[in-house]
Amino acid sequence: MRALHIKLRRDIIRLWPQALAIAMVMAAGVATLILGAGAHDSLATTRARYYETNRFADVFTTATRVPEAVATEIAAIGGVASVDTRIQKIALADIADMAEPASVTLVSLPGYREPTLNRLVMRSGQAPDPEADDEAIASEGFARAHQLTAGSTIRVLINGRLRAVRITGTALSPEYIYALGPGDLMPDDRRFGVLWMPQRALAAAYDLDGAFNSVAVKLTQGMPPAGVIDRIDTLLADYGGLGAYSRKDQISHAFLDAELQQLKSMSRILPPIFLLVAAFLVNMTLSRLVALEREQIGLLKAMGYGPWAVARHYLEFVLLIAAAGIIIGFVAGAWLGTGITTLYAKFFSFPFLVFSRNPAVYAIAGGVTVVAALAGAIRAVAAVAWLPPAAAMAPPAPPRYRKILRGHIDLTGLVRQSSVISMRHLSHFPLRTASGILGMALAVAVLVGSLWSFGSIDHMIDVTFHRSDRQDATITFTAAKSEAAWYAASRLPGVLRSEPFRVAGVKIRHGHVERRLSLNGRLADAELSRVLDGDLRPVSLPETGIVLSQQLAEILGVNRGDDVEIELLEGDRRVITQPVSAIITGYIGLSAIMELDAMNRMLGEGDRVSGVHLAVDSAAWNQLFAAVKATPTASFITLQHVALKRFRETLAENILIMVTVYVVLAGIIAFGVVYNLARISLSEQAREMASLRVLGFTRGEVSGLLIGELLAIVLIAQPLGWLIGYGFAAAMVEGFTTELYRVPLVVNRDVYAKASLLVLAAAAFSAMVVRRRVDRLDMVQVLKTRE
């Protein structure tokens, strides 16, 4: 081994804690990029493969009753590759292990063949006998949640009649990857499932012999869905068609898309920030570390090593550290990425997982790190390697200090000289001080940028569940009923208050921007499900006009007073123009709300209600459930506390796990920075420290000097870090926002406090290391050598 390589090895060993801290900062930057991009790519690839293998449809629609012959007409539309007609209904299920009723979607299976589209992946058991009228395949998650296996029986309220259905097997479907129950905000396998039953049985039960009420269409490669949708709508108009929609509006696909988009933006915003922060810090620390080697560089040159040889030696030094960081980052990133992908896959029902390892992501992460490290080293080495050896061996020209504010302020007697030393150090090297402050500030900022989401989600939950939708339960009827159904519901056991609501599928349009959603009608002064303005104050719904959530208003590009077009998707399919009467706060979904009577007038079907929001006496839940299960008109019941629990759990499983990983990585970065800054300052000032020790300064006083400097930098960095962190958070919010939910940007004081405390803790630990080093400072050794 050549002498320089031996030196290299020894230098690394000598500086191992610092080298490791720098490597860890790099590793954190590299790992975030890899895990973020990896999780997204893996899930996107898995979904694409699943869709392709199981022929997930492109266009969907439901209608009231369509004669089977119409299927041929749909198939004849240009661009349609294949058509599957089905019967699809929502029903209540009474399950032994659950007090409240569950909701199930019943989907028909064609007689003796496999469906051409949305093919099932059988997970256990077998398909039902096509002739049987009481057999079904259950969706795997639902079956697992209730321990249903082949042979188990559940009772389902099919078209008003309670029937025992025997489970013959379990399956997954690309149509229900994100299995969201009607009226639910988050998937809940316990409360919602899919039952696939033979066509014959459902046709008989729902009186749909020779007819269907649901269509799935696969388009030819590259065919845009818009034209086909229009043709289908025209064909089904006479059969109660509710408007065809593409994958974009298919619930499972849309939610999955939203999750993927969030993952993507998390991987596009935070990791690059992390990587750049890490790169900056690595650059800064390595350049200072190499600058400390000035004398050694002079010595090597004096012995006859050329500047390039010297430069190469130090570049190898930083490359070794970078290599360690990159390898740790690759391994940690791949491991975390796989872990997170697996978690997501469990949450979404995927039958298999494709782990994507995109070499480009690895190359970018590694490349940025190497460049940052090399740039840092080159900056420092270049300053020395081309000096004549004698000049390089001599200490750099002593810094010419100046009095603070050029001596205009006399601090004599006010400030101790030890503080003057600190102040002059900080002010004399403005670049070094500034980069130190920026480094610490970035450490605070990455923490703020990853910690904020916890509080924002809490705020979102508070507004949604505690201030806006305050009902305990919601019953949705199978179809819109007369107001008598509302009075009947308010007399159910345990009901303290009830408020009716009306929902209707509409397309809402302004210019050429259009969204398909459920228009919601409520009492003007609803107490349970309230409408909140921008300041979160309850709003009384005006008698005319439509109220839009802020996000919907932004998407449509409308303000209060503007008109929007509302196209009804049921009934006579009229198009009505309504003025926007208010814009309200809403974080979940795109919402459009009208006063109930105004909406009923607009729909022109008389005073109808789609369901009721209820306040329920908590002692009377069981009686209420029993009564609901016996009510043929109730298609499902949503419980607010269950919804809230699921909401929290789901977010915990998605965003928060990811964020937690980011917080840990941010912590590592913060820690690495503070530690390195402290260690390097110590090396730079070792001589001064030793002088002070000789003069009779105690260890505490001497380390206090350095710690004071560190503290000054840390303290100045905090507000700057909060500010930059807020910017990171604002960038993240943009990424989090989807049409399904919008995370508000709420950065509470506790986020700043936590970020600062973590950085201060890192600083305190570094201060302890500094203190220990000062204790071991060899005064004699330092003073006997020339500066």
């Binding site: 010419r400 000289q417 009779g696 003073l783």
Partner: protein, 241 residues
């Protein structure tokens, strides 16, 4: 253990002082049973080749290093028994150091460098007084980088004496200076020795300096090889090298 009864004049007394450095398996005997006393106000020059143990000796009696054997007493404090905090206290209250490479704090002016010490001392002189003793009143507000080597060393002397130390320990104080500047530094040293009465020990390679001392001690192989008193001290201005 009772303190050896010092004579009225004795401020410093060392018996059987030994120092062994261990590096791996190798033991280096830097000091082997040194006996030594110094009286109040005495000006002592210590000569000896490199590795003779003179710096180790100075470091131990200055409280910068610990002995492996023997006793060292300053007045009634047994240095060899003091803990780290005790040694710091001892340096702070009683000892002034001057090194070959000045070791001034570059970010403090001459006055502030001295103030650094007066702020932590019990009965210091003012920085101005200390700097006047080394003829640097007019350069008080200069930073080290703005001073010549000789001036920097005189600031170091002012800093060392400002606390009115009992002992002034100088390790090659003129080692980095030319003859003319070195003599000015020695003049400053003899002057403060006379004016504040601090016992002064000067380590040097430079035999010419021995003539300004009351007593000359020669170190060789970690022990005192010889010792003699000058019948008559020469003023610093009368020597040259």
């Amino acid at each position: 253990m009772t303190a050896p009864r010092p004579s009225a004049q004795t401020v410093f007394r060392v018996t059987g002082l030994g120092k062994v450095y261990r590096t791996g398996d190798v033991e280096v005997h830097a000091l082997r049973g040194v006996d030594f006393t110094a009286s109040r106000g005495e000006f002592i020059v210590i000569l000896g080749p490199s590795g003779s143990g003179k710096s180790t000796f100075l470091n131990i009696i200055g409280g910068l290093d610990r002995a492996s054997a023997g006793e060292a007493w300053f007045e009634d404090h047994e240095l060899t028994r003091l803990d780290e905090a005790g040694l710091t206290r001892y340096r702070r209250d009683h000892v002034g150091f001057i090194f070959q490479f000045y070791n001034l704090v570059p970010s403090l002016t001459a006055r502030e460098n001295v103030q650094l010490v007066t702020e932590i001392s019990r009965q210091p002189m003012t920085p101005q007084e200390a700097l006047a003793l080394v003829d640097l009143e007019d350069r008080m507000d200069h930073f080290p980088a703005q001073l010549s080597g000789g001036e920097q060393q005189r600031v170091a002397i002012a800093r060392a004496i400002a606390k009115r130390p009992d002992m002034l320990l100088c390790d090659e104080p003129t080692g980095a200076l030319d003859s003319k500047t070195g003599i000015r530094v020695l003049e400053a040293l003899t002057r403060v020795n006379a004016e504040i009465g601090a016992t002064t020990l000067v380590i040097t390679h430079n035999a010419a300096i021995q003539e300004i001392a009351d007593r000359v001690v020669r170190f060789a192989n970690g022990a005192i090889a010889s010792e003699h008193r000058n019948a008559r001290r020469k003023p610093a201005s009368a020597i040259s090298w």
